[in-house]
Symmetry: C3
Subunit: 356 residues, 3 copies
């Protein structure tokens, strides 16, 4: 990754920061404070990293003006208001770009598909009837794109992705390896002790700037569509069931599962391993902490949690025994009863004292 060279001045310009030190110093990579060498640039994400930064071998630091004064003036700096954001921006400078264009000879493209001339289609990728692939979109090897799927501009679809169910995908969407978009939803009508398959006729609509990790499943809707709005970001191994709707800019961490027909608002955060039952609504700006189970509508913004926290195994075993008893212990009544008994005792005591 360190094959490119950039001057400090150029990098400062990219992040609209102030360059301090030797503007013509050459940098070949971004690195963490710990691993950085003199050819690397690193960032100081707040006061608590100053100590580490003072030990770092990085050739330049991205810092705020306030923090810069804590360092030797001999060093190179890029001064910005938000070092983390500047770092995020610079990662794009050091990204290894995919430059290939055109269709590999081994790809199988249906004659009715429309592929932009600026797109890239990798080895062995199979594209079906009436598909559309937009400008500058990169589709890597072994991707399967079923009939009627449409993909916008500047997307990145990694190897072994499956796009089916007539999915419609916006611009600048990134989908990572082995993810399945538009697979058949889990719809069955129980009748006479057996499950009768309900063919899923809805689709999946994915907005712009959506990011989906690897090994995810986003199912097509039963009749209406499954919808991921603009700016949704999803980590790996996530399940989005049929007819789920996820609001704009919501983030869903790894291993979450959202059951069918649930609607999640905008700007929500589901931490890792969260499960959400079907047919509920979650309003905007809700955060669910890791491994929580959402079983009801959430109608107020805020932070929600479930789980017992971690215990030593021996304590946990005793706690589980107590939890089995808990159902039959009227906790609030008990507290009241104790308070009442306390006042009875006090009354008895004063009666006795009076008689003395």
């Amino acid at each position: 990754m360190k094959s490119q060279n950039f001057t400090l001045e150029h990098l400062a310009q990219v992040v609209q920061g102030q360059c301090l030190g030797r503007p013509d110093s050459i940098f070949t990579g971004l690195a963490s404070l710990e691993q950085a060498e003199s050819c690397d640039i690193a960032f100081v994400n707040g006061e608590k990293y100053v100590e580490q930064a003072l030990q770092s071998k990085a050739g330049a630091l991205i810092v705020t003006a306030e923090l810069q004064s804590l360092f030797s003036s001999q060093l190179n700096f890029i001064i910005v208001q938000n070092p983390y954001l500047a770092f995020a921006t610079l990662t794009h400078v050091f990204e290894k770009k995919h430059t290939q264009r055109g269709i590999e000879a081994t790809a199988q493209i249906h004659p009715s598909a429309i592929i932009s001339e600026s797109a890239y289609i990798g080895h062995y990728t199979v594209i079906g009837e009436n598909c559309v692939v937009g400008d500058h979109t990169i589709i890597k090897s072994h991707v399967t794109i079923d009939d009627q799927v449409e993909i916008g501009k500047s997307c990145f679809i990694d190897s072994h992705v499956m796009l089916t169910g007539e999915a419609k995908i916006g611009d600048r969407v990134r989908i990572h390896s082995n993810t399945v978009i538009g697979g058949e939803g889990f719809g069955f009508a129980p009748y006479q002790g057996k499950w009768h398959r309900i063919v899923q006729l809805g689709s999946v609509i994915i907005g712009n700037d959506v990011r989906i990790g690897s090994n995810c499943s986003v199912d097509r809707g039963a009749l209406d569509d499954t919808i991921l709005e603009n700016g949704v970001i999803i980590d790996n191994l996530v399940q989005i069931a049929h007819n789920v709707k996820v609001g704009a800019n919501t983030a869903i961490a790894a291993k979450c599962g959202v059951a069918g027909s649930t609607t999640i608002g905008k700007n929500c955060v589901l931490a890792g391993g969260v499960g959400v039952v079907g047919h509920i609504n979650i309003v905007d700006n809700v955060t669910i902490t890791g491994m929580s189970m959402v079983t009801n509508n959430i109608s107020e913004a805020g932070k929600y949690s479930s789980g017992t926290g971690l215990l030593t195994n021996s304590q946990w075993k005793r706690t589980v025994v107590r939890l089995r008893q808990l159902a039959d212990v009227p906790l609030t009544q008990l507290t009241k009863k104790i308070d009442h008994m306390q006042s009875q005792i006090e009354s008895l005591e004063s009666t006795l004292k009076l008689r003395k």
Copy 2:
């Protein structure tokens, strides 16, 4: 999906229902009450949807005889006993059928494999030694079928599926994209601080009418086989470990995991995210609610649950503190003690009254 036309009369016949209204009305799709237009047919799944149905633009409604009387007689109806089942049946009418037969030129088929002439084998699919593919089975692109795997009739195997471990698959089985059947079970013998791999020599046996979603892993057995009986339905991202046995018509929702050598009975339901430990037995007709952890045998049919439910984060934090204390609070003793103290106080009170 709306390229096919059917008369109301024809659709009523398919579901053995009564046609009310204009039998020659043409319908091009099924839709939800909310999204339906005049060319669509929708269904009313019980009284609570009547209000919505009255607002719907659907050109025809599937209803029970009781509900039909609530609507204007000007409309078109299909009268049935079970509208949801009728809807499930009609989805098959509107399904886009896969009509291709034969083997794509790019597929790699071992000469010893036996492929039915009515089967379809997609692009780049690889089929090994002594495999069998039955009549009318559809195998899409990029599937890998390892040596000795046998697949029955009228199956549907979607792209990027891996069938290995000499799996034997029944008739009318559907396996969705990127699922792995017959992968090596997680078997290691610990010895002198290291893990020694146990080669898995068992296989996977899948009955008829089984459905497995996308991104699932069903491992081959260590010595004996992993077994999914007839009619089992499994959602996405599910783990079935080596030597698990799942009874007929059991449903397993997304993100469940069943550990090794566990037996699950018939007609069970595991809701989303359930985990079942290894080497236990669950009897028939057991329902486990979402994200529960099953740590012991279940020997009685019924519904089981675990978890704390969802709390606001601030309440949850306090609850977790209490849960850490709970192990050391003798709840049932405490309740008895309080009752005993109550009677002691009453006795004291009456003693004092007597003396007045």
Copy 3:
């Protein structure tokens, strides 16, 4: 799997055991006590399996010297100290070996890649720039190996695996189907209500003798690398986020998730479905039981758990109500208060007695 024949004597030699009975007896397979036939060899894993072994039709038993005396001397035996380990060793004898070498004509190998002549590259596998594949490594069909990935000797990479992010993989590593190594980590900087992608520039380093199951995601690091040390074993559907470090010989069961920048020590065991939050440290020799949530550093070796255990649904519903009350019940104070009241009552009682 039963196409190979071995004498009892040969099998005893393989496990350095003592052969008792007819050394020239021929065995064609390993089997469980339950399913074994006379051509099979089975093992007795401790006293509790003796009953079952007495009923078994197995033609030979692997037992300890102590247990052997419980069986008829007419039988065939292999006497060893550790029958389970001997069984593990013998599974390798009965394993169907992959014997093909060379590169399938349909594989796409970049001219700059270095592939050992003793390696096997399967159909449709795509290998990018500057990749290295070591001696005796087997790479099955439909694998994608992106630029700069290096794979050691005697590895096994199953179909549909994706190796990217410039991953470096040691010797004797086994990676099962549809797993993604080196996918982009979930790194986004929030700014003005949107998520700004942080290009992930780190890599993944995998040691020797590592085993990763199917449908796993192991992400590349943001700047530094994600690291799996020697001897780590991972089951199916596991998420390892960017910059996680897993210590040597740690075992991670199916459906676990480890969030970003967390360090797990050596010789740990994460049972199925465990979740670990980001940026924490877990020391060596820690066991986490199934579906537990680790939210803080663990600084002492030992066994840890969370969760409520399983309840009947009706009891669970009542328990959840109590858990909502629990936050406001001062449990330890309550216990003290009750003890204090008890002594007050006793004091009252003795006062009254004195006055009699």
